[in-house]
Structures are given as structure tokens and as C-alpha cells.
């Protein structure tokens, strides 16, 4: 059967005005993906570097945390890459945690009133933003020597 491209389609994403409820839903999936891939691979690298001994841990530190004064160009580039990864994973963690807790509340049947639903969707974003900012400032002051 040939499809007629001129047939009317039902309205889809692009015709709706974005709301916090829609955003928090797709962010839950996106942040889950970031945590499952970048987050977990970095965690496993960290754990296996600890298990591998002092030399293997030094390699992890050189590539991920700080290349040090004699670091190669690749290592310095890698440091910046992992700082972005750390920021993305930290935000993803708090966002996924906040909207995950929201989902658990929705699962017991609460919080579907329009205003309440909208408020807690926004709260998930605000909480994730401030928690990420707190961790970023903490790490910057304690470990990177900024601030």
C-alpha cells in the first residue's frame, strides 16, 4: 500500500509549548543514559585503578584528575575532558535522583494535580542545579586549587 505523504498527522512534540513536566521526563531518560555510560565507566576505571596498585592509580590520576607539571598534551586535554564529564555526571546524578524520587511519589498515586505536578517538576531541576553547584564549588576549592 502506497503511503500518501499529504495525509494529516496527529499533533506531535513540536506543536506543544514546553513545560517543566515534559522537560523533567526527557531529562530523566537522558541523565539515566549519561550515568549508565560515562558515569559507570569512570567509576569502574577508578575502582580498578585502586585495585591495580599505586602505579595504575597514578595513571588514572594523570589522565582524569591532574596531569601535573610534567603532563603531556594528551593528558592535559584528557583532564579537561573529564572535568566536563564530571560536571555532566554530577548534574545527571542529582537530576536523576530528584526526578526519580518524584516518580516514586507519582507511582503511589500522589502529586497529579496540575499545579502540584508542575511545581515538583521544577523543584527537581532547581534541586539538581544547586546540588551540582555545591559539589562543583567544593571540588574546585578542595582539589583543583581554584577559589
Amino acid at each position: 500500500m502506497a503511503k500518501n505523504p499529504n495525509r494529516p498527522l496527529s499533533p506531535h512534540l513540536q506543536v506543544y509549548r514546553w513545560s517543566p513536566q515534559m522537560a523533567v521526563s526527557i531529562f530523566h531518560r537522558a541523565t539515566g543514559f549519561v550515568l549508565a555510560t560515562a558515569g559507570m565507566m569512570t567509576l569502574l576505571w577508578w575502582l580498578s585503578a585502586i585495585g591495580g596498585g599505586a602505579e595504575s592509580y597514578a595513571t588514572f590520576v594523570k589522565y582524569v584528575v591532574s596531569a601535573g607539571a610534567d603532563g603531556s598534551g594528551v593528558q592535559i586535554a584528557s583532564n579537561w575532558f573529564f572535568r566536563l564529564v564530571a560536571l555532566a555526571v554530577t548534574f545527571s546524578f542529582f537530576q536523576h535522583l530528584a526526578s526519580g524520587l518524584r516518580h516514586l511519589v507519582l507511582d503511589i498515586g500522589a502529586g497529579y494535580e496540575l499545579k502540584t505536578n508542575r511545581t515538583w517538576a521544577s523543584v527537581a531541576f532547581v534541586a539538581a542545579f544547586f546540588a551540582t553547584a555545591f559539589v562543583a564549588l567544593f571540588v574546585a576549592s578542595r582539589f583543583i586549587g581554584v577559589l
Partner: protein
């Protein structure tokens, strides 16, 4: 083979009784993750030194190795359930969907076994020099 239609073949049999399993497991592992990752994040804040020696000693303790192994197992089961939904929703080609699902299973099982082995080895045999 009979000549009935697909719908005629299954009508009246009731549900497969598996409908709620994936959904429920996803919630149960989510609650586990809330507890275990809270423990992990608080630990990161409280670890006194990020030098290799103290870190290896920290990770080798039973009260750290056990929750760490639980966290790895629980997170990767949650990853399996969650990414499965992403594949089911966004990968429409049947062949590609089958390949993605196979890769996902390889990814979560290999990663979880690797992580658990690393922590267990350190806990059982102590930190290497």
C-alpha cells in the same frame, strides 16, 4: 499450524502474568540505588585522603567492599531495565533492536562482573604495592 488469526489464537487465555515484573524491578532497584548511592556520595565527602594507599585500605574494608559490590550489582540491574526501555522506545528497526538488546546485556553483565571482581579481589587479597 492452524488457520486462526493471531488474535483468535490468544483470545481468552488471559495475560502472560509477566506484565508488572519489569516495572516493579525498576522501582525496587531504584529504591536500592537511593540508599546505596547516598552511602557512596557521603563516603566520597568523608574520605580523608585520595592518595592510593589510604584509598585501597578504605575500599578493602568489609563494610566498604560489601556495599560497593551491592551498589555495582544494583546499579547495573537498574541500567539494564532502564536502557531496555530506551531501546524499545527509540530503536524501531527489528534487527537493530535485537542487536542493541544483545549489546546491552553484554555491557551490563560484563561491567558488573568486572567491578565486583575488582572490589572482591582487593578485599580478599589486600592492596598490591
Amino acid at each position: 499450524m492452524d488457520s486462526r488469526t493471531n488474535i483468535g489464537r490468544v483470545r481468552g487465555l488471559g495475560s502472560a502474568k509477566h506484565g508488572g515484573e519489569h516495572w516493579l524491578k525498576q522501582r525496587l532497584t531504584a529504591v536500592g540505588n537511593v540508599l546505596l548511592t547516598t552511602w557512596f556520595v557521603l563516603s566520597l565527602f568523608m574520605i580523608p585522603s585520595f592518595e592510593h594507599g589510604p584509598l585501597a585500605q578504605w575500599l578493602a574494608q568489609p563494610l566498604v567492599a560489601v556495599p560497593m559490590i551491592l551498589m555495582i550489582a544494583n546499579i547495573f540491574s537498574h541500567v539494564k531495565l532502564g536502557l531496555q526501555v530506551l531501546i524499545e522506545d527509540y530503536v524501531h528497526d527489528e534487527g537493530l533492536k535485537f542487536a542493541s538488546m544483545t549489546l546491552l546485556n553484554f555491557y551490563v553483565i560484563a561491567s558488573a562482573v568486572f567491578g565486583i571482581f575488582v572490589v572482591a579481589k582487593l578485599a580478599f587479597t589486600g592492596a598490591p604495592a
